[in-house]
């Protein structure tokens, strides 16, 4: 509905820049000052690292506009064909499937023309592949890799009579099914404490261990309905959200009812209201900030099924960016091995430049907050186990609809029956999720 305005601003900006370019032709050589406009969200650009670039390049002004995640991507989608684009735009993995579509990917600068192909071998192959558009162009440079592990509270595990050493804990759950059984045992032994924070997080964890999600990698058709990985991921998360049954209805989960990143979540972490969190590398920093008083009470074990990944972003340069060259200098510097190492040390974001995983600075990195767990080794092995996963056009909306269904299970608000499934069952939640996706996506 804002289309009209956008086309108009697009034209106006186009005319204005046309004039500016025509007028600046003469004096352009003299001024080497460049202003890079950057659209971002969350913590893609860490201030201390950006400041290092600013200090080294006083002639470059970097203007970062931080927006809400969904807003940034929607704004970018409609800005791309116009000239009102930033020089650098961050794109989250949940949206990458949309921006990789050939027509949209064509609106980005092919980074290979700026030299990306020369540094491609530095990066984790599966993360690099996620940044390739369906038109064959390299449209994104991968930021951090989430990896996946389980952060757990040794004190609470001890209370439940479980082993507390990380190798022994990892051995407790070779499969996701076992993970749920352990959760059930924990819950029976330590009443009032959730085994994990939010069982809905299991869905993405299991899903990302596969190679396809909601769309077929070859035909690009929607397969969320038939892909066994999706059903399996849903069933595991649903089982965890509906572990205890009464009269064939859900009556309790192995998690709390708290949503991640809500104010309650931070409070619960401080009070020890749950014993385990599925933790990508960036999660560790959240835990430290939310619950500094729990230092030393945590340790880190591997996830069932070995590897895992959650999160991560791409840095892109729109085709109509005014300073594509300067933008490339900035992002290729920002994501170069040296800076990624620094970001890891300061902010805990795990590098995508995997060749340094074998270097002592990563390999031997231990975190005292987590009982000196070898964080570097754990996350590198987790990240190395992953295969590329095909991202599709409406991943974000479908993710969110399955998330709603799983939340209905844990909250006990699946009030509608669906198909042959009665209300308050996980079958009804799955059935309604499929209907809702069909209703929105139309496929």
């Amino acid at each position: 509905m804002k289309l009209g305005i956008r086309i108009r601003t697009g034209l106006a900006v186009a005319v204005a820049t046309g004039l500016a370019v025509a007028g600046a032709g003469v004096g352009a050589q003299a001024a080497s000052n460049v202003t890079l406009t950057v659209w971002s969200y969350g913590n893609v650009f860490e201030p201390k690292i950006v400041d290092m670039y600013r200090k080294a390049h006083p002639d470059v002004t970097i203007k970062i506009t931080k927006m809400n995640l969904d807003d940034e991507h929607n704004k970018l989608l409609y800005a791309l064909p116009s000239r009102a684009v930033p020089d650098v735009a961050a794109v989250e993995m949940a949206y990458m499937g949309q921006f990789r579509q050939p027509m949209i990917a064509a609106q980005f600068t092919n980074l290979n023309t700026l030299g990306a192909n020369k540094i491609a071998s530095d990066y984790l192959p599966f993360r690099w592949a996620q940044g390739t558009g369906l038109n064959g162009a390299q449209i994104g440079l991968p930021t951090d890799v989430g990896g996946l592990a389980v952060a757990y509270r040794t004190d609470l595990f001890k209370k439940a009579g479980f082993p507390t050493k990380r190798e022994e804990v990892t051995a407790l759950w070779p499969t996701w099914e076992k993970f749920i059984t352990v959760g059930k045992q924990f819950q029976n032994k330590v009443p009032g404490v959730g085994f994990m924070d939010s069982t809905g997080t299991l869905f993405a964890a299991v899903l990302n261990q596969g190679t396809e999600k909601y769309y077929d990698a070859k035909s690009r058709a929607a397969i969320y309905r038939t892909n066994p990985t999706v059903k399996r991921a849903f069933d595991i998360a649903a089982k965890a959200g509906c572990t205890f049954m009464r009269n064939n209805k859900c009556a309790g989960s192995i998690g709390t009812k708290i949503n991640q990143f809500s104010p309650d979540w931070g409070a619960a972490m401080n009070k020890g209201a749950f014993a385990a969190v599925l933790a990508p590398a960036w999660m560790l920093d959240y835990i430290k900030q939310q619950a500094p008083g729990t230092k030393g009470k945590w340790d880190i074990a591997a996830v069932p099924g070995g590897g895992g990944n959650m999160g991560g972003s791409m840095l892109t340069i729109p085709k109509k960016a005014k300073n594509a060259k300067a933008a490339w200098d900035f992002i290729s510097w920002y994501l170069a091995p040296a800076q990624q190492l620094k970001t890891f040390q300061l902010y805990g974001l795990f590098p995508t430049t995997y060749k340094m995983y074998s270097q002592p600075s990563i390999k031997n990195y231990k975190d005292p907050f987590f009982n000196n767990a070898p964080v570097g080794a754990i996350y590198s092995s987790s990240a190395m186990k992953l295969k590329p996963i095909y991202a599709g056009a409406k991943d974000r909306l479908i993710d969110s609809t399955f998330g709603q269904a799983l939340a209905r299970i844990t909250q006990g608000t699946q009030t509608k029956s669906c198909g042959s499934f009665p209300a308050q069952t996980s079958g009804a939640a799955w059935c309604q999720a499929l209907q809702d996706i069909q209703h929105n996506v139309g496929q």
Binding site: M1, I7, P263, D264, A268, A405, A407
Partner: protein, 325 residues
Amino acid sequence: MTAISQTLKSRKRRRMSAIARQDRVGLFYVAPFFVHFVLFGAIPIVFTTALAFFNADFQTYYEFITNHQLSVLTNAFAGLDNFRELFKDSYFWLALRNTFSIWLISTVPQLIIAFGLASLLANARLRASTFWRTALMIPNITSVLAVAIVFQQLFGRDFGIFNVLLHYVGHKPIEWVAGTIPSHFAIATMINWRWLGYNSLIFLAAILAIPKELYESAALDGASRWQTVRYVTIPQMKNTITFMLVMGTIGGLGLFVEPLTYGGGFDGGANSQFLTMTLYLYKQAFMNQRLGYGAAIGVGITLVVMIISAINFMITRSIAGEESK
């Protein structure tokens, strides 16, 4: 003869041109409003209404922008399809119900409390009245995002202050987010907190504008306090109350930021329990990239607002009719 008529004419012309010149100056003064209105009011309205008849998504937009071919538009023309779908869309009707529910539990108590506060502030014996009047506006100028974070904390299920207090009196925790009515109540509280002061000040202005003589004669007639309010204050404030009902209706039916920030997403909760009409518009138009359908939802919202406004108008007219009898 002719000379006289000519001088008359020219005098008239001169006067006319002076008026015309004045008019032109006047036009210049009001121009910014009209330019703004045309650019950001009229064009989007016309454009949105037109868009509602197309099956347009971002591909239509990209093809049109990059190829400039009209065939893109003719291919996307969908006639009344979007409206037919909207009429059958259970989520739109759910969103309508949610919006009405939140609107009702935010507007009614808000107007009553605001009226009470305004009466207190109008009291001549109140000390530091300017301070209180200013203080009332603080919620209104606070960032909605900050308000949302604070209210999320207050209404937290496990560690929020309301549930902690309820726990002490032996009540089980209320599902402030997962429950339908509790979530509506929590969002309405955010709105009330934000707009109470603003409404109180408008009421206050209206109360202060009522001539003192009316109260004096009411007192002479032996009217009780309640009778004074019922037969002097409220009828005198009829226009203000109408204004606030209309503004409340428009604001309430366009409810967007509060449910978005409270739930932390565009879904309006796991069971869509606080999905409002505009949130659904956003979800369809931008999360689902169905611009045409989103526009149809926008037209639907406009129709709802128009119907409610008509009802408002009729109620106000009937009150006015009663008075003239």
